[in-house]
Subunit: 370 residues, 2 copies
């Protein structure tokens, strides 16, 4: 039996944010310690930490890092109440001495703006940072602000872990004893606080004794499927088969796939879903061949301000992600590239949306989201 | 104005087959000379020469190489009548002295069997080799067999070049002055004797003064789009933008694509088409967004023995093509891979099939093919 344990994708300890450096996997498992705001923003932008829920948590802890960078060099200001395995531990807050509220506020305002700007599509990042704002916009006392910041950031991680367990339990009920699940990008523990979304559902089903097999789209350009999903499946003892993204239609046509499960970076009220580029084609092919297509995401992914997906901003990333692999060019020099990081799948292609609240079927009305 | 010139993808000169080594492009343009049958079969299997029409030509010349290997070491037996640019030159045949018909036949029978076994999906390979058989199964005179072999192999290349011109001219009539064409894999001069199929249509349209832009799917696992299509477009001065295969659905949804044009490796009588893996998903998405989807291939690609696509054998290739790029692993060691080289697109998704005979629209009845 597989245990549904959390992995330490994003944590905070003794004044530093700690992340599993996802750019090094699967060849190296390494915890990176981030002690200044630039490193945090760079880690989010370069996908050292990635996945909509995980970058929400990283954004919240990033505000703490901004304070540590300024005033925590000698003595760390914060130590989190959540351990690597997700279990409770003793938190400490040592507010910096000799500074005023105005300085603190100014540092936090600037940090919040900078963090939110790192990636535009995932709504969780802005959601988490905005959720932190009352911590320094309410009380005007440095000590109170610091206590509030750590409590709220830890709450975001704790809720992520709790929602991960709830969401994956709801999702696991959709899977049969011997189902074969096709997934895209990485939606396991590495995309979140440590449990995951779509791939977390597979782990939850496995922890119930089901024999689930995973087909992992490699997910070009950054190969999160081949690198991260395959690594997580092997770490947890789940059989996994990797395929190039172009092979998913023929796999779906073959009848060998029970369902498709993917995560989400932003969901509009009507259910239109932005997710890693390649999801749209997968959804269209799944419907063509009668394979159920499920989206699994925490309700913080729902952007209640959007009626539909047409207004979701899509991040376009650097050409070299397409023209190079691992730093080596395979295309001619200076060739142009079309490199959207996400696409938007219309709700009509989505069989169900699973959140920590349960399984929702169309027609979707997700107005009560985040 | 762009000229529709042939490139020397596969040629035969002074006892050796000459190919543009496609595994080295785009970083190096190099002509490889193949003087023995093992090298020819290895070049086809490893895709140093690739593309259904091109491996047909390579299969035909490969039979000549088998003779050279045995008896042409001192003095080459064959010199082809077709130059690098496709223009006529003087052919010579110097039949080997002192050997009997039985020896010659036995060498050719074995070579034919070995060549056909290198790749199972592209029908052109078997078609070309079978077309050569009467050369040694009719006359029983060594000199007559040798003359017939060179004449027939040259005829296959000559017809490929002529069909390339005819097919791409028919196809170019489907393109407007400023069309933007999405294509998959490589279907330019490198896939054929030197003119091409689907991408050749773009070159033909450009040679008529049209301003065509190309979107090239990178085409994992072997990146023929990013490497070869991008290289050919740049060599010929055609604007080209590369994208990962997973991004094609969002590109089609954006309305920026006028039509999709792809080649084919085998076409059944009803129009079902085997082509590079990824084609099926592209066709399904194209129909979803109302974008015309065209197949361009010589009639030798039609397998008149097949009523539909269900019996087309699909080659499955090595796992490392998926788990590695340029020799470097990105997936965990020993992870499983699903790696079909081709998929089969039902005729119902194909707006037209263009051959050297013209443009055919559904319902297809291609019984009069090869």
């Amino acid at each position: 039996m597989i245990m549904l344990t959390a992995i330490p994708t994003v944590r905070f300890a003794r004044g530093r944010m700690r992340i599993i450096d996802q750019t090094l996997l699967p060849s190296r498992y390494e915890i990176a310690e981030l002690g200044d705001l630039d490193s945090v923003c760079d880690a989010i932008a370069r996908l050292r930490v990635r996945g909509a829920p995980a970058i929400g948590v990283a954004g919240a802890y990033g505000l703490l890092v901004a304070i540590e960078e300024q005033w925590g060099r000698a003595l760390p200001v914060f130590d989190s109440a959540i351990g690597d395995d997700g279990a409770p531990r003793t938190a400490t807050v040592t507010p910096p001495a000799g500074i005023g509220y105005a300085e603190l506020k100014s540092t936090l305002d600037r940090a919040a703006e900078k963090i939110v700007a790192t990636r535009p599509t995932a709504v969780n990042l802005a959601w988490a940072v905005n959720r932190m704002r009352p911590c320094w916009q309410g009380p005007r006392d440095v000590g109170a602000v610091c206590h509030a910041l750590l409590a709220e950031a830890d709450a975001i991680l704790r809720e992520d872990l709790d929602m991960g367990r709830a969401m994956t339990t709801h999702g696991a009920a959709l899977l049969g004893r011997d189902d074969r699940v096709l997934t895209h990008c990485n939606t396991g523990g590495l995309c979140s606080g440590g449990i995951g979304t779509a791939l977390g559902v597979v782990f939850a089903a496995a922890s119930q004794g089901k024999h689930i097999q995973v087909f992992a789209d490699e997910t070009r350009p950054l190969l999160q499927g081949a690198r991260l999903t395959a690594w997580e499946c092997r770490e947890r003892g789940i059989p996994v088969t990797v395929l190039v993204d172009g092979a998913s239609a023929s796999l779906l046509a073959s009848g060998d796939v029970s369902c498709v499960m993917v995560g989400a970076d932003r969901i509009a009220r009507n259910g239109d879903t932005a997710n890693k580029v390649g999801t749209l084609g997968l959804a269209i092919s799944a419907r063509q061949f009668g394979v159920p297509f499920y989206v699994v995401a925490p309700s913080s992914t729902i952007d209640a301000s959007l009626r539909d997906g047409s207004a979701i901003p899509v991040e376009h990333r650097a050409h070299h992600e397409v023209t190079h692999v691992a730093g080596v060019a395979h295309a001619p020099a200076d060739v142009g590239a079309y490199n959207p990081a996400f696409d938007v799948t219309p709700a009509s292609f989505i069989s169900a949306i699973v959140t920590e609240r349960g399984v929702q079927r169309p027609p979707y009305d997700l107005g009560g989201g985040a």
